[in-house]
């Protein structure tokens, strides 16, 4: 098999894995906040977290450039301090995948947390367990199926991220060409056999992750 194909497959897995780890780490606390807490600006936070789900990826990518580009609001500070910019690196692909797939984790996990019986949470409090302890020992285990489903969906979405990634990480062969981007290039230059392979691989992998997500959402306790 062509080295470039292998590179794209490996890069896609690497990007989606790191993005998914970040998504789980930030998505769970955010979902918990949205499911269990009343605070000012909660609806706004919910809308902000959900927007990447409905915005065209180019718009999300545009915002990310405005924020993280070398002259961006955050990107400039990072560049001044470190001389490094995330633009056109594989980390940019991780960032794009993270932002675009995060809403799937938050939505699924929030629904799962909200479905945990309030009495079980109250029982835990009256038995002397702190809120954090209760979240860890009662809420998370009972919301587990939703969390697994959200993680699988996010991974599949992160693997398939194209638009925002292209804007942020560019299409640099051997550096930032994840599978979706490589397929775009191969189709453009008429290299069908490699494109076929990657299309089939993407379809199979995405199908498997969707299947996992479905299996776990069917029986959220």
């Amino acid at each position: 098999m062509e080295n470039s194909v292998l590179f794209s497959v490996r890069l896609s897995l690497q990007v989606a894995s790191l993005a998914t780890v970040l998504i789980v780490l930030t998505g769970m606390p955010l979902a918990y906040l949205l499911a269990r807490k009343a605070f000012r600006g909660k609806e706004l936070l919910d809308v902000l977290c959900t927007l990447p789900l409905v915005l065209p990826p180019t718009v999300t990518g545009y915002y990310l450039i405005v924020l993280f580009g070398r002259n961006g609001l955050i990107g400039r500070l990072i560049y001044e301090w470190t001389g490094w910019s995330i633009m056109f690196t594989w980390y940019a692909a991780v960032l794009a995948s993270f932002i675009v797939a995060l809403p799937l984790m938050i939505k699924t996990t929030r629904a799962a947390i909200e479905s945990v019986d309030r009495n079980l949470i109250n029982a835990s409090y009256t038995l002397g367990h702190s809120e954090f302890d209760t979240a860890l020992k009662v809420i998370l285990p009972l919301a587990k199926r939703g969390i697994v489903a959200g993680t699988a969906l996010s991974f599949a979405r992160a693997m398939g991220e194209f638009g925002a990634t292209l804007m942020l990480a560019g299409n640099l062969p051997g550096r930032t060409d994840t599978m979706p981007i490589a397929i775009y290039s191969l189709a453009g230059s008429g290299e069908w056999s490699q494109a076929h392979f990657m299309v089939l691989l993407m379809t199979t992998m995405s199908g498997i992750f969707l299947y996992i997500a479905n299996r776990f959402t069917k029986r959220i306790i």
Binding site: N119, N122, T126, S130
Partner: protein, 245 residues
């Protein structure tokens, strides 16, 4: 001594305004559904915050709106048994009971859990899950879990409502014996007058978030304070719902 409660709380057009005290006895909060009985338990346990009032048990104040005292439920010494029992479905019977003693060493926890399992006749069920045991056994697990941390009072929110009649009778006897052996105040919510009479030393009758009468079961039967109470105690068993007025 005992449990002294004075509470006011307005929520969604419903106003609770009650004051009572109970000693080292089994008291029943009796009234129609929606009269504020379960809400009272939640306010006492700190699961809900009262607008005004005080919750005091044996000279220790757990809530006092004017003094700004409001201890979280974790720091209130109440054993709470919920209407649906709220056993953790992902934990075994032993794990459920152990969960009630979070602040003890593993050895002490296990010793106490063994004591509870023995006292509540749950031997052999330690590794089962709640869905694998009978209704009566679930009740006993809920009591064991609430009592393992040695609470200073028991709050029981209609724990027997899902049981059939013979089991209910058995659980009433069990509860009376239990309260006597632990020797702490126990407060039971029920809308079943027969149950209230059969089990309690004192009945606190609720009406629309207020107290209609507080007395011994015999005296409430003999001389209801007003027409409302006499109607209430003669109404058929079932789940009567208080009309909002």
């Amino acid at each position: 001594m005992g449990l002294q409660v004075r509470l006011q709380k307005k929520v969604n057009g419903f106003a609770l305004d009650i004051e009572w005290q109970i000693g080292n006895e089994l008291a029943v909060l009796f009234g129609f559904s929606g009269a504020g009985k379960s809400m009272t338990l939640q306010l006492i346990a700190g699961l809900m915050k009262a607008d005004k009032g005080q919750v005091r048990l044996d000279d220790i104040v757990y809530f006092d709106s004017s003094a700004g005292i409001d201890l979280p439920p974790q720091e209130r010494p109440f054993g709470y048994v919920f209407q649906d029992l709220a056993l953790f479905p992902h934990m075994t019977i032993l794990q459920n009971i152990l969960y009630g003693a979070p602040n003890h060493s593993t050895n002490e926890k296990l010793d106490r859990a063994q004591e509870m399992i023995h006292a509540f006749k749950l031997t052999g069920l330690e590794d089962r899950y709640p869905y694998e045991i009978s209704g009566g056994q679930k009740q006993r697990v809920a009591f064991a879990r609430a009592l393992i941390r040695r609470p200073k009072a028991l709050l029981l929110d209609e724990p027997f409502s899902a049981l059939d009649h013979p089991l209910r009778l058995e659980m009433r006897r069990f509860l009376r014996a239990l309260r006597e052996s632990f020797n702490i105040p126990a407060l039971l919510v029920t809308h079943d007058f027969e149950e209230a009479v059969a089990i309690s030393d004192k009945i606190i009758v609720y009406r629309h978030g207020n107290i209609a009468q507080i007395d011994s079961p015999e005296r409430i039967k003999r001389s209801p304070a007003n027409r409302y109470v006499s109607q209430l105690i003669s109404s058929d068993e079932g789940v009567p719902v208080e009309r909002s007025s």
